[in-house]
Point group: C2
Chain length 139, copies 2
DNA sequence: ATTTATGCAAAATCTTTGCATCAAC
DNA sequence: GTTGATGCAAAGATTTTGCATAAAT
Protein backbone atom coordinates (compact mmCIF):
# COMPACT_ATOMS: atom_id res chain seq x y z
CA UNK A 1 0.00 0.00 0.00
CA UNK A 2 1.44 3.33 -0.98
CA UNK A 3 1.76 6.16 1.44
CA UNK A 4 -1.04 8.02 -0.26
CA UNK A 5 -3.37 5.05 -0.05
CA UNK A 6 -2.45 4.50 3.56
CA UNK A 7 -3.09 8.12 4.35
CA UNK A 8 -6.39 7.97 2.51
CA UNK A 9 -7.67 5.01 4.50
CA UNK A 10 -6.34 6.44 7.73
CA UNK A 11 -8.04 9.76 7.16
CA UNK A 12 -11.32 8.19 6.13
CA UNK A 13 -11.35 5.97 9.19
CA UNK A 14 -11.32 8.98 11.43
CA UNK A 15 -13.80 10.91 9.38
CA UNK A 16 -11.44 13.34 7.70
CA UNK A 17 -12.03 14.22 4.09
CA UNK A 18 -9.99 13.22 1.11
CA UNK A 19 -9.54 16.54 -0.60
CA UNK A 20 -7.54 17.72 -3.58
CA UNK A 21 -5.17 19.90 -1.52
CA UNK A 22 -4.45 17.01 0.82
CA UNK A 23 -3.74 14.77 -2.13
CA UNK A 24 -1.35 17.37 -3.50
CA UNK A 25 0.50 17.62 -0.19
CA UNK A 26 0.76 13.85 0.03
CA UNK A 27 2.10 13.61 -3.52
CA UNK A 28 4.70 16.27 -2.79
CA UNK A 29 5.79 14.47 0.34
CA UNK A 30 6.05 11.18 -1.50
CA UNK A 31 8.02 12.84 -4.26
CA UNK A 32 10.47 14.46 -1.87
CA UNK A 33 13.69 12.50 -2.06
CA UNK A 34 14.88 13.68 1.30
CA UNK A 35 13.57 14.82 4.64
CA UNK A 36 11.99 18.19 4.22
CA UNK A 37 11.14 21.32 6.14
CA UNK A 38 7.66 22.81 6.02
CA UNK A 39 9.30 25.70 4.22
CA UNK A 40 10.48 23.45 1.40
CA UNK A 41 7.12 21.78 1.18
CA UNK A 42 5.47 25.18 0.86
CA UNK A 43 7.77 26.08 -2.00
CA UNK A 44 6.99 22.89 -3.86
CA UNK A 45 3.26 23.51 -3.50
CA UNK A 46 2.59 27.06 -4.66
CA UNK A 47 -0.93 26.04 -5.66
CA UNK A 48 -1.86 25.07 -2.10
CA UNK A 49 -2.42 27.67 0.59
CA UNK A 50 0.18 28.10 3.34
CA UNK A 51 -2.28 27.38 6.07
CA UNK A 52 -3.40 24.18 4.44
CA UNK A 53 0.15 22.91 4.14
CA UNK A 54 0.80 23.61 7.82
CA UNK A 55 -2.51 22.07 8.82
CA UNK A 56 -1.89 18.97 6.73
CA UNK A 57 1.61 18.44 8.07
CA UNK A 58 0.33 18.73 11.60
CA UNK A 59 -2.46 16.29 10.85
CA UNK A 60 -0.17 13.73 9.26
CA UNK A 61 2.22 14.02 12.15
CA UNK A 62 -0.57 13.43 14.62
CA UNK A 63 -1.64 10.39 12.63
CA UNK A 64 1.93 9.15 12.86
CA UNK A 65 2.29 9.12 9.10
CA UNK A 66 5.03 11.71 9.23
CA UNK A 67 7.82 11.74 11.74
CA UNK A 68 9.35 14.91 12.98
CA UNK A 69 13.09 14.93 13.50
CA UNK A 70 14.87 17.63 15.48
CA UNK A 71 18.23 18.54 13.99
CA UNK A 72 21.20 19.71 15.96
CA UNK A 73 20.71 23.33 15.00
CA UNK A 74 17.21 23.24 16.44
CA UNK A 75 15.39 23.10 13.12
CA UNK A 76 12.78 20.47 12.39
CA UNK A 77 12.50 18.25 9.37
CA UNK A 78 9.85 15.72 8.49
CA UNK A 79 9.92 12.40 6.77
CA UNK A 80 7.46 9.72 5.83
CA UNK A 81 7.25 7.49 8.83
CA UNK A 82 7.55 3.77 8.54
CA UNK A 83 5.39 3.90 11.64
CA UNK A 84 5.83 2.55 15.11
CA UNK A 85 8.58 3.31 17.55
CA UNK A 86 11.96 3.94 16.03
CA UNK A 87 15.09 6.06 16.15
CA UNK A 88 17.09 7.93 13.53
CA UNK A 89 20.49 8.00 11.97
CA UNK A 90 20.86 11.48 10.51
CA UNK A 91 23.51 12.20 7.91
CA UNK A 92 25.11 15.60 8.30
CA UNK A 93 26.33 15.51 4.72
CA UNK A 94 23.34 14.49 2.63
CA UNK A 95 20.63 15.09 5.19
CA UNK A 96 19.02 11.68 4.78
CA UNK A 97 17.52 9.95 7.77
CA UNK A 98 17.51 6.22 8.33
CA UNK A 99 15.06 4.72 10.78
CA UNK A 100 16.09 1.84 12.98
CA UNK A 101 14.77 -0.05 15.94
CA UNK A 102 16.89 -1.53 18.66
CA UNK A 103 15.26 -3.47 21.44
CA UNK A 104 18.46 -3.69 23.46
CA UNK A 105 18.86 0.05 23.31
CA UNK A 106 15.27 0.50 24.42
CA UNK A 107 15.88 -1.94 27.25
CA UNK A 108 18.92 0.04 28.37
CA UNK A 109 16.82 3.18 28.34
CA UNK A 110 14.16 1.53 30.46
CA UNK A 111 16.85 0.43 32.87
CA UNK A 112 18.08 4.00 33.21
CA UNK A 113 14.57 5.20 33.90
CA UNK A 114 14.09 2.52 36.52
CA UNK A 115 17.39 3.41 38.18
CA UNK A 116 16.15 7.00 38.57
CA UNK A 117 12.69 6.04 39.79
CA UNK A 118 11.41 7.61 36.62
CA UNK A 119 8.15 6.48 35.02
CA UNK A 120 9.11 6.27 31.37
CA UNK A 121 6.44 7.30 28.91
CA UNK A 122 8.44 7.96 25.79
CA UNK A 123 11.91 8.53 24.49
CA UNK A 124 13.84 9.80 21.50
CA UNK A 125 17.24 8.81 20.20
CA UNK A 126 18.94 10.65 17.36
CA UNK A 127 22.35 9.74 15.94
CA UNK A 128 24.24 12.35 13.97
CA UNK A 129 27.13 11.63 11.62
CA UNK A 130 27.95 10.57 8.07
CA UNK A 131 26.03 7.80 6.37
CA UNK A 132 27.66 4.88 4.58
CA UNK A 133 26.88 6.21 1.11
CA UNK A 134 28.43 9.59 1.85
CA UNK A 135 31.48 8.04 3.47
CA UNK A 136 32.01 5.95 0.36
CA UNK A 137 31.41 8.84 -2.01
CA UNK A 138 33.24 11.55 -0.10
CA UNK A 139 37.01 11.74 -0.15
CA UNK B 1 33.30 27.17 41.35
CA UNK B 2 29.91 28.69 40.72
CA UNK B 3 28.35 28.80 37.31
CA UNK B 4 28.93 32.53 37.12
CA UNK B 5 32.58 32.17 37.99
CA UNK B 6 32.98 29.38 35.51
CA UNK B 7 31.32 31.41 32.82
CA UNK B 8 33.51 34.36 33.68
CA UNK B 9 36.73 32.42 33.31
CA UNK B 10 35.49 30.69 30.22
CA UNK B 11 34.55 33.95 28.56
CA UNK B 12 37.79 35.66 29.49
CA UNK B 13 39.84 32.80 28.15
CA UNK B 14 38.36 33.28 24.72
CA UNK B 15 38.56 37.04 24.83
CA UNK B 16 34.93 37.83 25.48
CA UNK B 17 34.06 40.63 27.84
CA UNK B 18 32.60 40.38 31.29
CA UNK B 19 29.78 42.88 31.05
CA UNK B 20 26.93 43.87 33.32
CA UNK B 21 24.20 42.54 31.01
CA UNK B 22 25.97 39.19 30.74
CA UNK B 23 26.26 39.04 34.51
CA UNK B 24 22.55 39.75 34.78
CA UNK B 25 21.70 36.99 32.35
CA UNK B 26 23.92 34.56 34.22
CA UNK B 27 22.35 35.46 37.53
CA UNK B 28 18.88 34.97 36.13
CA UNK B 29 19.85 31.59 34.75
CA UNK B 30 21.34 30.54 38.04
CA UNK B 31 18.26 31.72 39.88
CA UNK B 32 15.90 29.83 37.61
CA UNK B 33 14.71 26.81 39.50
CA UNK B 34 13.73 24.94 36.39
CA UNK B 35 14.67 24.65 32.76
CA UNK B 36 13.62 27.79 30.97
CA UNK B 37 12.65 29.08 27.55
CA UNK B 38 14.29 32.16 26.12
CA UNK B 39 10.88 33.75 26.44
CA UNK B 40 10.85 33.23 30.19
CA UNK B 41 14.38 34.49 30.50
CA UNK B 42 13.42 37.63 28.61
CA UNK B 43 10.54 38.24 31.00
CA UNK B 44 12.76 37.87 34.02
CA UNK B 45 15.23 40.37 32.57
CA UNK B 46 13.26 43.43 31.52
CA UNK B 47 16.33 45.58 32.09
CA UNK B 48 18.35 43.72 29.48
CA UNK B 49 17.68 44.12 25.76
CA UNK B 50 16.02 41.32 23.86
CA UNK B 51 18.88 40.97 21.44
CA UNK B 52 21.39 40.70 24.23
CA UNK B 53 19.49 37.91 25.92
CA UNK B 54 19.30 35.96 22.67
CA UNK B 55 22.95 36.59 21.94
CA UNK B 56 24.02 35.57 25.43
CA UNK B 57 22.02 32.36 25.38
CA UNK B 58 23.52 31.45 22.05
CA UNK B 59 26.99 32.20 23.33
CA UNK B 60 26.57 30.15 26.48
CA UNK B 61 25.20 27.28 24.49
CA UNK B 62 28.17 27.37 22.14
CA UNK B 63 30.47 27.39 25.15
CA UNK B 64 28.64 24.32 26.40
CA UNK B 65 27.62 26.10 29.58
CA UNK B 66 23.96 25.77 28.72
CA UNK B 67 22.35 22.72 27.27
CA UNK B 68 19.45 22.90 24.92
CA UNK B 69 16.75 20.31 25.32
CA UNK B 70 14.12 19.70 22.67
CA UNK B 71 10.72 18.88 24.13
CA UNK B 72 8.17 16.66 22.51
CA UNK B 73 6.06 19.53 21.28
CA UNK B 74 9.03 20.92 19.40
CA UNK B 75 9.79 23.73 21.82
CA UNK B 76 13.25 24.26 23.24
CA UNK B 77 14.26 24.76 26.83
CA UNK B 78 17.65 25.45 28.30
CA UNK B 79 19.34 24.42 31.48
CA UNK B 80 22.69 24.94 33.11
CA UNK B 81 24.87 22.21 31.78
CA UNK B 82 26.92 20.09 34.06
CA UNK B 83 29.12 19.84 31.02
CA UNK B 84 30.34 16.92 29.00
CA UNK B 85 28.29 14.36 27.16
CA UNK B 86 25.02 13.41 28.80
CA UNK B 87 21.38 12.60 28.25
CA UNK B 88 18.18 13.80 29.85
CA UNK B 89 15.24 12.53 31.82
CA UNK B 90 12.47 15.06 31.29
CA UNK B 91 9.50 15.18 33.61
CA UNK B 92 6.23 15.91 31.85
CA UNK B 93 4.67 16.98 35.11
CA UNK B 94 7.11 19.38 36.73
CA UNK B 95 9.29 20.07 33.71
CA UNK B 96 12.54 19.36 35.50
CA UNK B 97 15.38 17.71 33.62
CA UNK B 98 17.84 15.30 35.14
CA UNK B 99 21.12 14.67 33.39
CA UNK B 100 22.61 11.21 33.29
CA UNK B 101 25.42 9.42 31.57
CA UNK B 102 25.34 5.79 30.54
CA UNK B 103 28.35 4.25 28.91
CA UNK B 104 26.51 1.07 28.04
CA UNK B 105 23.84 3.05 26.29
CA UNK B 106 26.47 4.96 24.39
CA UNK B 107 28.14 1.68 23.46
CA UNK B 108 24.85 0.35 22.15
CA UNK B 109 24.45 3.47 20.09
CA UNK B 110 27.91 3.10 18.64
CA UNK B 111 27.10 -0.47 17.79
CA UNK B 112 24.01 0.61 15.89
CA UNK B 113 26.05 3.13 13.97
CA UNK B 114 28.64 0.52 13.10
CA UNK B 115 25.97 -1.91 11.96
CA UNK B 116 24.73 0.72 9.49
CA UNK B 117 28.17 1.73 8.29
CA UNK B 118 27.46 5.10 9.80
CA UNK B 119 30.27 7.32 11.05
CA UNK B 120 28.91 8.52 14.35
CA UNK B 121 29.75 12.09 15.29
CA UNK B 122 27.17 12.85 17.94
CA UNK B 123 23.93 11.66 19.43
CA UNK B 124 21.06 12.74 21.63
CA UNK B 125 18.87 10.71 23.94
CA UNK B 126 15.87 12.18 25.68
CA UNK B 127 13.58 10.27 28.04
CA UNK B 128 10.10 11.62 28.70
CA UNK B 129 7.94 10.63 31.62
CA UNK B 130 7.25 11.36 35.28
CA UNK B 131 10.06 11.87 37.74
CA UNK B 132 10.31 10.12 41.09
CA UNK B 133 9.34 13.21 43.08
CA UNK B 134 6.21 13.79 41.02
CA UNK B 135 5.25 10.13 41.16
CA UNK B 136 5.53 10.24 44.94
CA UNK B 137 3.66 13.52 45.26
CA UNK B 138 0.99 12.96 42.62
CA UNK B 139 -1.95 10.76 43.40
C1' DA C 1 42.51 54.25 22.09
C1' DT C 2 40.76 50.21 20.45
C1' DT C 3 37.59 46.80 20.16
C1' DT C 4 33.64 44.45 21.57
C1' DA C 5 28.93 44.55 23.47
C1' DT C 6 24.55 46.83 24.04
C1' DG C 7 19.98 48.60 23.10
C1' DC C 8 16.66 49.88 20.19
C1' DA C 9 13.65 49.42 16.62
C1' DA C 10 12.99 47.47 12.35
C1' DA C 11 13.15 43.49 9.53
C1' DA C 12 12.94 38.80 8.67
C1' DT C 13 11.06 34.27 9.93
C1' DC C 14 7.90 31.12 11.02
C1' DT C 15 3.19 29.66 12.30
C1' DT C 16 -1.55 30.36 13.48
C1' DT C 17 -6.22 32.36 13.09
C1' DG C 18 -10.70 34.45 11.51
C1' DC C 19 -13.83 34.14 8.27
C1' DA C 20 -16.21 33.91 3.87
C1' DT C 21 -16.34 30.51 0.32
C1' DC C 22 -16.08 25.93 -1.50
C1' DA C 23 -16.03 20.91 -1.71
C1' DA C 24 -16.82 16.33 0.28
C1' DC C 25 -19.91 13.41 2.06
C1' DG D 1 -28.05 20.20 2.88
C1' DT D 2 -24.50 19.59 6.48
C1' DT D 3 -20.27 19.66 7.87
C1' DG D 4 -15.58 20.02 7.37
C1' DA D 5 -11.70 22.06 4.50
C1' DT D 6 -9.61 25.79 1.97
C1' DG D 7 -7.48 30.15 0.85
C1' DC D 8 -6.44 34.48 1.81
C1' DA D 9 -4.68 37.99 4.33
C1' DA D 10 -3.90 39.58 8.71
C1' DA D 11 -2.25 38.85 13.21
C1' DG D 12 1.01 36.53 16.34
C1' DA D 13 5.05 34.79 17.82
C1' DT D 14 9.90 34.25 17.57
C1' DT D 15 14.54 35.45 16.34
C1' DT D 16 17.90 38.23 13.86
C1' DT D 17 20.10 42.48 12.12
C1' DG D 18 21.88 47.29 11.36
C1' DC D 19 23.71 50.82 13.47
C1' DA D 20 24.77 54.53 16.70
C1' DT D 21 26.18 54.56 21.49
C1' DA D 22 28.36 52.85 25.56
C1' DA D 23 31.47 50.05 28.12
C1' DA D 24 35.44 46.90 28.77
C1' DT D 25 40.07 46.10 28.06
Amino acid sequence: MSFTELANSRLETIGFRWTAPRRAVLRAIEAAGAPFTVEELLESLPEVGRATVFRTVKLLHELDLLCRVPLEDGSIRYQLSEGGHHHHLICRRCGQFTEFTDLELDAGIQEQARAHGFTLEGHAVELYGICAACSAAGA
